[in-house]
């Protein structure tokens, strides 16, 4: 599959400014998930009658925000040919660090958040050094870190934390121009990610490294620094998502916070058309993947579908999406 599909995927994945201005039809052709998402929304609205209520939409957006914040940097990492499976544990460690600083240590919310981000960056840096500079397999390294960071979190915070104070609750609960703070942050991350990919030299290098690392190296591109930075950003983003979750829930539990989150994020990224083999993907696709998962989960909950069915639906969606990408129409060659 690789050459044919990545070729088309990448062409659609690299929207130059002109492509951004192109009409909705072209976007639809590039992002078939948009159509699927619209159908999903239609079905849920018809069957529940309340799916499109503003209150429910706000709920979806807030739930999806944490996902989007991690999905964007993770997508960039995957585009550059790497992978991070440790984000669920990093999220937990970030949540616990922020909660501990804000609650037990009674630090200001800013200190709490910055502390969480620093911890996340540190985890990302470890991943990055091992994968990019020592050349170890990202799958193995981050799988190991998934377990190790979770273990560390449980060692440091054996008991559930809660009662983080009103100041810290602002992060998850405040409204900025009527929009929940997490959604604003997620929006900023999405825009930053898209601009980075399209308008910075390093953004182009991300694609180059993912498409053909050897050719990128022979072109004088630094093939280690950029993915290393993306590891750090991904870890930081996971910790930020953790802080937001801690703030929203006013609690953090070392055993369960963010458990399975890495797979949900990866599902969103892959559903969004980012190739696991690297070199192709777009932030718009990631947004659609995140919204799709958010809507699916919310709609099924509204329909009182049991959780295990929801999980199955998520899994089926991912495999079906992959199958469609593989067997679907190929434009070039």
């Amino acid at each position: 599959m690789t050459t044919a599909t990545t070729a088309t995927a990448a062409e659609r994945a690299v929207p130059g400014p002109r492509a951004l201005a192109a009409g909705g039809l072209a976007t639809l052709r590039r992002q078939p998930l948009l159509l699927v998402l619209a159908l999903l929304v239609l079905v849920f609205q018809l069957s529940t009658g309340s799916f499109l209520d503003p209150g429910n939409l706000r709920g979806i957006a807030t739930d999806a925000a944490a996902l989007a914040i991690v999905a964007v940097p993770l997508a960039l990492l995957v585009i550059s040919g790497y992978l991070d499976l440790s984000v669920g544990s990093t999220l937990a460690l970030g949540a616990l660090t922020a909660g501990w600083l804000a609650g037990e240590q009674a630090q200001s919310p800013v200190v709490a958040v910055v502390g969480a981000l620093a911890v996340g960056a540190a985890v990302g840096a470890v991943n990055g050094v091992l994968c990019c500079y020592l050349g170890l397999s990202p799958f193995i390294v981050t799988l190991g870190m998934l377990a190790a960071v979770r273990g560390l979190a449980q060692q440091l915070f054996p008991l559930p934390l809660s009662g983080f104070g009103d100041g810290f609750a602002w992060l998850g609960g405040a409204r900025i121009a009527g929009i929940a703070a997490p959604v604003v942050i997620a929006g900023a991350v999405l825009v930053a990610g898209a601009l980075f990919l399209a308008y910075t030299p390093t953004g182009r290098h991300v694609f180059a490294i993912g498409v053909n690392r050897e050719a990128a190296y022979l072109s004088g591109i630094d093939v280690r620094r950029t993915p290393f930075a993306l590891f750090v950003v991904t870890g930081t983003a996971a910790a930020l998502a953790g802080a937001i979750k801690a703030s929203v829930l006013d609690s953090a539990v070392s055993g369960t916070s963010g458990a399975g989150f890495e797979l949900t994020v990866l599902t969103a990224v892959l559903l969004g058309g980012v190739a696991l083999s690297g070199g192709s993907g777009s932030v718009l696709g990631v947004l659609l993947g995140v919204l799709f998962l958010g809507c699916l989960q919310n709609g099924l909950t509204l329909l009182s579908v049991p959780t295990f069915w929801q999980q199955m639906a998520q899994g089926v969606a991912l495999v079906a999406g992959a199958a469609l990408a593989y067997f679907g129409p190929r434009t070039t060659r």
Binding site: E11, V14, T200, R204, H205, A215, L218, S219, G220, T332
Partner: protein, 580 residues
């Protein structure tokens, strides 16, 4: 494979194919194209039992494609492959082996960590009560080794054996699988002189035992010694075929090159001027009008070419460069000079270029760009001092297939064009646009993914990476600049390179295994054999024929030609007289 479980039967398999005795191998009207390029054009090849059939042709003539169709790696587009009288329109690798075809590639497919016996029986192990019957296997392995006169023991680990012995193990493995057709792909390329002699003797034994042997080689001396029949491929077609009487070298060289050398009288000047071998000088001059990058006034176009050996300024100076598998190498490329490194595949040219580019570490020697001594540890270092490499393996090392044409050209340069960290999209488009025009990119669409372009246009993209307005290097290294490129685009690429050298004074060092290319593109050409420069041709001496003669006549033994003496232009003329 099911009928292959008893490898002992092979001993008499070769002669028993029935009263009619069809040839062991008969390939008829085989066609194979790769994306519009005809790799094989109605190729016929018949090899009866007990014949050594030499397959000649220079790199890219279609030999490998033919072998790969035979081995089942590629399905042919049309034609039949008949093995032992059974016709096939296509073969899978398994079917090919089952039919009795054994191919010994240059890169052997033995498993180093296993013993000789284990290698021979790999995939067809003999078992007894569910366990491998080691003793029985070793007994048969010993017989097979005896048959190929290998000196190794069945219990030796293959990784510890010398190259020649490994090759014999692979041949023994082929025999154990009842092979009736044995294909040897440049079998002596990796062997020492004595090993080569031993192999020749084995080939003669196997011929006597009734195998049909296809012997792929570049060395005419081997053809003269071993071959009962010769087929020469050129541009995917059978350019020459003969059986029985030994061929004159001249005739074969002509067939390989397309008769360009024979058209004229003996004088080298005439030959250079004959049709087909148009020099880079002529074409460079004619290309000035067609390709005219803005902002660069053309200097006197004859400056670099009138006396290339005494060029005014040396852009690249290499002294005593050594690395794994090559050296020491001395060379100088002047401003505006195009220097060729001609040699067969595996002669070390690629390593030399990669070492100059910082892709590999040099183990000794000095490299200077202009006056400055450089020691690039990474490609990025080499690029920083103005050395760029366009690698031979376009797909693996050069191209970003899914990314757009513009990205492919400008990715290394977007950073320099950017202002305050933001890409200068207008400037990028403009640089790409004028480059696309200068190099004749077709289609000139910046957004089209590189994988959608033809091989020639992909190569132009890779060249364009280093010779655009935003980034122009001082020293351009090209490895097989037109590999897998169709004939028309080939000429365009030569024009681009020639113009570049003339107008910007870029020093170009290219490696090629195609003598036609070396003669057409280079101002001056070094002949490389086993990691060393064994000769130099320039001016009127630099012809396709002279280059071919220089490497094909190179003895399999250590090169007798002294490193400094230029190879004479027509060293094999006496052979021609004697052999005909």
């Amino acid at each position: 494979m099911a009928d292959m479980t008893e490898p002992t039967r092979q001993t008499d398999a070769t002669g028993q194919s029935g009263a009619a005795n069809p040839p062991n191998l008969r390939i008829t009207a085989l066609n194979k194209s790769f994306g519009g390029v005809r790799a094989l054009d109605s190729v016929d090849l018949t090899v009866p039992a007990g014949q050594v059939h030499a397959l000649l042709g220079h790199n890219g003539a279609g030999k490998s494609t033919l072998i790969k169709c035979l081995g089942g790696a590629f399905p042919p587009d049309s034609g039949t492959i008949e093995v032992g009288g059974v016709p096939h329109t296509r073969l899978s690798p398994r079917e090919s082996i089952a039919a009795g075809v054994a191919i010994i590639f240059q890169t052997l497919s033995v498993v180093d960590s296993l013993t000789v016996t284990e290698n021979i029986f790999l995939g067809q192990e003999w078992t007894r009560y569910g366990r491998i019957d080691r003793r029985a296997q070793e007994k048969v392995a010993a017989e097979l080794l005896d048959r190929v006169a290998a000196s190794c023991s069945p219990r030796d680990r293959v990784g510890e054996l010398p190259m020649g012995q490994r090759q014999l193990v692979e041949i023994a493995k082929a025999l154990s699988r009842s092979a009736s057709v044995l294909v040897l792909d440049e079998p002596t390329a990796a062997l020492s002189g004595t090993e080569s002699d031993a192999l020749a003797a084995r080939v003669e034994d196997l011929r006597r035992q009734g195998l049909a042997i296809v012997y792929v080689t570049h060395l005419l001396a081997e053809v003269e010694r071993l071959a009962d029949a010769v087929t020469v491929l050129r541009d995917g077609r059978v350019a020459h075929h003969s059986t029985g009487a030994r061929q004159g070298r001249r005739e074969l060289v002509d067939a390989i090159t397309g008769g360009r050398g024979a058209a004229s009288a003996d004088s080298a000047e005439d030959r250079a001027a004959s049709a087909g071998v148009s020099s880079a000088r002529e074409r460079g001059a004619s290309a000035v009008g067609a390709v005219d990058p803005p902002g660069s006034a053309a200097p006197d176009p004859t400056m670099a070419t009138t006396s290339p050996t005494a060029s005014p300024t040396a852009r690249l100076t290499v002294r005593g460069l050594r690395g794994p598998g090559f050296g020491p190498v001395d060379l100088t490329v002047g401003e505006g000079e195009i220097l060729g490194l001609y040699g067969l595949i595996g002669s070390g040219r690629t390593r030399m270029l990669e070492t100059l580019f910082g892709r590999r570490r040099a183990s000794g020697g000095t490299v200077r760009v202009g006056e400055r001594v450089v020691e690039p540890a990474r490609p990025a270092d080499a690029l920083a001092v103005g050395i760029a490499l366009v690698p031979a393996d376009r797909r693996a090392q050069g191209l970003f297939p899914g990314l757009s044409a513009q990205d492919n050209v400008l990715l290394p340069t977007v950073g320099t064009l950017a202002r305050r960290g933001v890409r200068a999209l207008g400037a990028e488009r403009r640089v790409f646009g004028s480059l696309a025009e200068a190099i004749g990119l077709r289609p000139a669409r910046p957004g089209l993914p590189a994988s959608a372009f033809s091989g020639g246009n992909q190569q132009k993209l890779l060249l364009g990476r280093w010779i655009n307005e935003a980034r122009a290097v001082d020293v351009l290294l090209l490895d097989e600049p037109t590999q897998g490129v169709d004939v028309g685009a080939r000429q365009e690429i030569y024009d681009v390179v020639s113009t570049l050298a003339e107008q910007r004074g870029t020093a170009v060092l290219f490696a090629s295994s195609d003598p036609e290319e070396a003669a057409a593109l280079a101002h001056r050409c070094l002949i490389v054999d086993r990691g060393r420069v064994i000769g130099e041709l320039s001016g009127a001496e630099l012809t396709e024929e002279a280059l071919l003669a220089a490497v094909h006549d190179a003895d399999p033994d250590p090169p007798p030609t002294s490193a400094s003496a230029p190879t004479p232009a027509v060293p094999h003329a006496p052979h021609h007289e004697g052999a005909a």
